[in-house]
């Protein structure tokens, strides 16, 4: 969503700086809220975290030792202050299961693969979706273009959880064109395949919304002018119509980011890929609380960052979303 500006004559640079600062602040507040939620959930929900880590057979001495190691014996406000300090300095404690490794280090290692998976998926999904939207709105396919919408709607209604295993089965086992899940030599092909799968729901949504937005834009006068000037259909749709339809498209990308990260967790599990999702699941299964806490906060921060980038690029592409001039 654009930031409405109250001063119509704001200088562009100052305004961009203010918008950026506003976005950054908003993002930080959301990350702080999430971190606080995670902090209190882990401490206030019934069940002693130390007992959770050590199991039912632990002695009272062991439990007490672990509590003091995790800082759980301090009053809750002291713990929270310590936690906030750790959050700012990226020091969220040491991994319980891999002594000597900090939680932040393990999260840092896992962040790369997940960011790559999600990032490639967003780019692929946006490209596929925009291509589909333009095919569905433009004149090239004639009557058959209604099929673009039908296919996109069917794809959008298919849960990734059902689609991904079946596609994997067909391509990996039947056709053998893709390396097996968990194959360490999968490399770039594995990343591309997983991202392509992850991008399908996004592409379907972008194609649906984008087609509708383009159809709306196509009624505008400036498109008639562009056509009258002798622009080709491709030029008219890519250069004139698409930027005007970018608002709804970027909004869809923004709203799908959460689902995309959720899908990334499922696909990491399906393909046995390292990443934030795998780290969260490992840390949960092995009760590695500092790592679990850090990984959950990192995935939230990744989501917030991605969403802010989506809304910032909306403002960069569509002048109306920048406020000031577009408010008129």
């Amino acid at each position: 969503m654009g930031q409405p500006s109250r001063e119509g004559t704001a200088r562009p640079l100052a305004q961009i700086a203010r918008t950026f600062a506003g976005r950054l602040f908003e993002g930080l507040v959301v990350v702080w809220l999430l971190a606080t939620l995670v902090f209190f959930a882990m401490r206030l929900l019934p069940g002693d975290p130390a007992a959770l880590v050590l199991g039912d057979q632990a002695t009272e001495a062991d439990l007490a030792a672990l509590r003091s190691r995790l800082g759980l014996d301090a009053p809750i406000h002291v713990q929270y202050a310590h936690f906030l300090r750790g959050l700012v300095t990226l020091d969220l404690g040491e991994s319980l299961r891999r002594p000597g490794t900090t939680a932040a280090a393990r999260v840092g290692l896992a962040l790369g693969p997940t960011a790559a998976l999600a990032g490639v998926a967003v780019v692929l999904g946006a490209m596929l979706g925009v291509g589909g939207a333009i095919l569905g709105a433009g004149p090239w396919l004639g009557r058959r273009r209604a099929w673009v919408d039908r296919v996109a709607t069917a794809l959008a209604a298919t849960p990734l959880l059902a689609l991904a295993p079946v596609v994997t089965f067909v391509l990996v086992i039947r056709l053998r064109v893709i390396p097996l899940p968990g194959d360490p030599e999968a490399g770039a092909a594995g990343l591309l395949f997983a991202s392509a799968l992850l991008s399908l729901p996004l592409a379907a949504q972008v194609a649906r919304i984008g087609r509708a937005a383009l159809a709306e834009v196509a009624k505008a006068q400036y498109l008639t002018v562009a056509k009258a000037k002798g622009g080709s259909d491709g030029r008219v749709y890519w250069l004139h119509a698409l930027p005007a339809a970018s608002g709804p498209i970027l909004t869809v990308v923004g709203t799908q980011l959460g689902a995309l990260l959720g899908g990334a967790v499922v696909l990491e599990r399906l393909f046995d890929r390292p990443g934030l999702g795998t780290l969260i699941l490992d840390a949960y299964a092995s009760r590695d609380l500092p790592v679990l806490q850090a990984a959950v906060i990192a995935s939230g921060a990744l989501f917030v960052l991605a969403q802010q980038v989506a809304s910032a690029s909306h403002a960069a592409i569509d002048p109306r979303a920048r406020g000031a001039k577009g408010a008129a």
Binding site: L34, L37, V38, A41, M42, L45, G47, L52, A157, T158, P159, L161, A162, L163, P165, V166, T168, F169, V172, I173, P181, T255, L257, G258, A259, L261, G262, V265, V266, R269, L270, G277, I280, L281, A283, Y284, A285, L292, V296, S299, G300, F303, Q307
Partner: protein
């Protein structure tokens, strides 16, 4: 007119109920038929340790749908009056509810569920339901708010007001019944999303401990993709059939509100 849209969901739930009633608990094991392909005795084949997949999928579907229905109905009962009431009240309350909806809807449900469940030692169905309800009310409130904004200007609402009806009476008698169309569509969408989320959580290992879930079937299927691919196909098919049939069913009540 569009009652046929209820047919797929009724078929999925009805068939599951019949099978679940006729079969013993899905933990009934026959080790000698582990990973067996579909046969007359086991129409969908067998999974890990010889569990009959038809029975397992039926029980899992029923539980998933029950959870989804509970979450959807509570979300609707909380969200719809909240949104419609805020639209009637206008002013600060209206803006606050709209803002809260924006905020909650920007939270990714699956990640939220992961964060909250990671603090729970052994998640139960109640935990799952509570986590999903945290965000489930928001789309209902937003839709009811949008409908309420249109309806508050309608002449029959004005007439009811002029006749001295209280705001609560106007809300209950005149506004809420007219939001049923859009809200029902959302009910289907929410239920479908909950079925998928629950299965996804169970698939990645965050499900109910030792519970029966469609995600568990998928998990077995992925592990045995090479020797027994039917398990994977059955799991994926069940997730697809359950979620899409619920989504379609939500549109059964959708008369003139149909999306175009």
């Amino acid at each position: 007119m569009s009652r046929w849209r209820l047919v797929p969901a009724a078929a999925v739930v009805g068939l599951s109920a019949i099978v679940a009633l006729r079969s013993s608990a899905p933990s009934h094991l026959e080790l000698e038929s582990a990973w067996a392909s579909p046969s007359a005795a086991h129409p969908l084949g067998c999974g890990e340790a010889g569990v009959d997949l038809l029975a397992l999928v039926s029980h899992a579907t029923l539980r998933g749908v029950a959870l989804a229905a509970a979450v959807g109905v509570v979300g609707m009962l909380v969200g719809a009056p909240l949104g419609a009431g805020a639209a009637l009240a206008r002013g600060r309350l209206e803006r606050a509810v709209a803002r809260a909806c924006d905020l909650v809807q920007s939270i990714p449900t699956f990640l939220l569920a992961l964060s909250v469940l990671s603090a729970v030692r052994a998640p139960t169905r109640v935990h799952l339901a509570v986590v999903f309800m945290l965000t489930a009310w928001a789309p209902f409130a937003r839709l009811a708010l949008a409908e309420g904004r249109v309806l508050r200007a309608a002449s029959f609402v004005e007439a009811a007001r002029a006749l001295g009806a209280t705001r609560a009476a106007v809300l209950a008698k005149h506004v809420l019944p007219n939001t049923v169309g859009v809200v029902a569509v959302q009910l289907g969408a929410t239920a479908a999303a909950v079925v998928v989320s629950e299965a996804a959580l169970a698939f990645v290992g965050f499900g109910v401990q030792g519970g029966v879930s469609l995600g568990g079937v998928l998990d077995q299927g992925v592990a045995s993709m090479l020797r027994a691919p039917h398990v994977l196909l059955v799991g994926a098919g069940a997730v697809f059939a359950t979620s899409t049939s619920l989504m379609v069913a939500g549109r059964a009540l959708d008369g003139h509100h149909a999306r175009r």
